[in-house]
């Protein structure tokens, strides 16, 4: 079983599906000849040709709209936004056209929307965003956010095979930093299912994306101090795995919800609200939220570090939660 980085997981999953199913194609800015800004589709144009790895004009709304149109006639487009931050330029097509199409027309709408997202890469306010929560508020869309190479591959394949629009948030910071064994062949991670990335008994962290790794690091540190932390990687944000959340809360009674995205209005609020309504009797402590500060992602490293959620902050928050 080959070792793959997170970005290779995405790339490998995409290539696997394109070989298997001729109706799958990719469109976006610089995805073809250049192989994508992050080289996720490097070499694809040579294997699949310029129609299936389609270099578009710089026009997010049209790219998304063309994806919707191609899905209507039976193709399975994978739309790439060069950075997830630019999804705001195609926002209406995503939420109102793709999001409602099946409901209002009965057409299945198999379109995947790849969104390279996340901070920690000195991208500043417009190349660091985590815009997932907007889309977890749109009935008709699905939203996933893998944290590992295996999940990256399994979720891109599941997303492509889904008959609904799926937003796929891939975290840029993880691209080349996370490696693991991933099978060359078929790997499917069911949309809507969380994954217990670490078992524990004292505290739970409900998280996703880059924050999973902060939680794992903090858990490792707390282990040294005799505190056992369970890390639940949600993976799918809409729909999300309510059973898995209930299971972990039942087990530990103390939960932190964590993500890199801004605190207020983040997906964590949804998870925390769900927990407080459905797991009220199981809780031994308040549901704690931890996220980045409510502030545009700053450019200067010192400011970005100050603003972002970090392992240290997760560690400190968990310690406090353990002591409640």
């Amino acid at each position: 079983m080959p070792v793959m980085t997170y970005i290779e997981g995405i790339s490998n999953g995409l290539r696997y599906e394109m070989r298997r199913d001729p109706s799958v194609f990719i469109l976006g800015e610089d995805v073809g000849v250049y192989g994508g800004a992050f080289k996720v589709t490097k070499g694809f144009i040579d294997e699949f040709g310029p129609e299936r790895v389609y270099d578009t004009p710089l026009a997010e709304s049209a790219i998304m709209g063309v994806g919707v149109g191609a899905a209507l006639v039976g193709l399975r487009p994978v739309v790439e936004f060069q950075f997830s931050d630019f999804i705001t330029s195609g926002f209406n097509q995503v939420v109102n056209n793709a999001g409602t199409m099946h409901f209002r027309s009965g057409f299945p709408l198999p379109v995947v929307i790849r969104c390279p997202s996340g901070a920690g890469v000195h991208g500043g306010p417009f190349h660091s965003q985590n815009p997932e929560s907007w889309f977890t508020h749109v009935p008709g869309l699905k939203v996933v956010a893998p944290s590992t190479p295996y999940d990256a591959k399994g979720l891109i394949i599941a997303a492509i095979r889904d008959n609904n629009p799926v937003l796929y948030f891939e975290h840029k910071f993880l691209y080349r930093r996370i490696k693991e064994d991933v099978p060359e062949g078929e790997v499917i991670v069911e949309i809507g299912k969380a994954d217990l990335k670490r078992e524990g008994s004292d505290l739970s962290v409900v998280c996703y994306g880059a924050a999973v790794h902060l939680a794992l690091e903090a858990a490792e540190r707390l282990q040294q101090e005799g505190i056992s932390v369970e890390v639940l990687d949600m993976r799918s944000l809409y729909p999300y795995d309510k059973e898995a959340i209930v299971r972990t809360v039942k087990k530990t009674g103390r939960v932190m919800v964590a993500h890199e995205d801004w605190l207020t209005g983040g997906v964590g609020g949804e998870f925390a609200a769900f927990i407080s309504q459905e797991c009220f009797e199981m809780l031994d402590a308040p549901v704690t939220r931890l996220a980045s500060a409510d502030c545009p992602y700053p450019f200067s490293s010192i400011l970005e570090e100050h603003m972002l959620i970090t392992t240290d902050k997760v560690y400190a928050g968990l310690k406090k939660l353990a002591q409640y």
Partner: protein, 370 residues
Amino acid sequence: MAKAKTGATANGVNGAVAHHENLPAGVFQQNHLKKLDALLPELDIPNRKYGDLTKDDYIELYRLLYMTREVEARLTRLYRQGKIVGGVYLSKGTEAIAVASGYSLNRDTDWLFPMHRDLGAHMSFGQRPMKLYAQYMGRAAGPTRGRDGNTHMSDKSRRIVGMISHLGSMIPVAVGAAIGCRMQGKKVVSLTFIGDGGASIGDFHEGLNFAAVAHAPFVLIIENNQYAYSTPIVAQYGAAKIIDRAIGYGIPGEVVDGNNIYAVYETVKKAVDRARNGGGPTMIEAVTMRMRGHSEHDDHFYVPKDLLEKWAERDPILRAQRFLEKSGHLKEKARLKLEEDTIAFIEAEIEEASASPMPDTGDLVSSVYA
């Protein structure tokens, strides 16, 4: 006939025009009325052959045109009777454009993306009036099963894709459908519409530029009916004609008299044929005048009364009737019979729609996902 209250009209129009003219020098580049007047076509449509139309086509196009007018007139009636859910957006005076465009397509293979004022396109592309009424009444028999309203009407089995309200949004989608069909090796064309107002929005530009670069088998009909809600074209765009944008996309652009249904057919059909044969996209500007308010609750006070009178004489139905009479394709007696049959047909369709059940709430939420 759309009659605005006289007093209000006089005031409103003078008010509106005065406002536009009182703006700081140059805020509007052209004089309001001059620009609108320049668009007025001649009184009669030329008595000549139009494209590949046969005698039967001339008659069928007329029937569809007449049917659209009468279907809409009954929508207004039903609206006043409180039998319609939501608003009603009519195409009175501009029906020829939608009808002829839908008719130019191959209804067994092509894809149609109608806008809010294109009821006639649904029908000329094969849709039953019953379905349209059921949609307006929020019934289960409507193509969206009560989920969407007005003419936002997808019909999957017919390759009709209903619009979302956001004007311009369907342009890139129609382009995507066209490109997608080509990738599948099909010789298929997609067609959509946009208004003089909708043409100002970003998706118009992104979609057309994309279509041009991709050489997509796609046709865009710009329905220039001179108003976007209350906004006159003088406040909507700076160019002399909207179609002047075609050169900026490097694709063919044509202007056509939108109140001549046969000319519209001829122009659109040429573009559709070109697209089908690999010749790329075309933009067509069909010039007309919206003869009623934006919707049935809008009294139209802001449109100059004399302008409406001039356009009323150029009504597409009257002009088609005169043409059919002169050309001999359909003489008055036969025409009256056809009209009578059409009305009877429509009334039966309304009855069927009215008697049909409301949608079930049971699968509402589960139908959000495929």
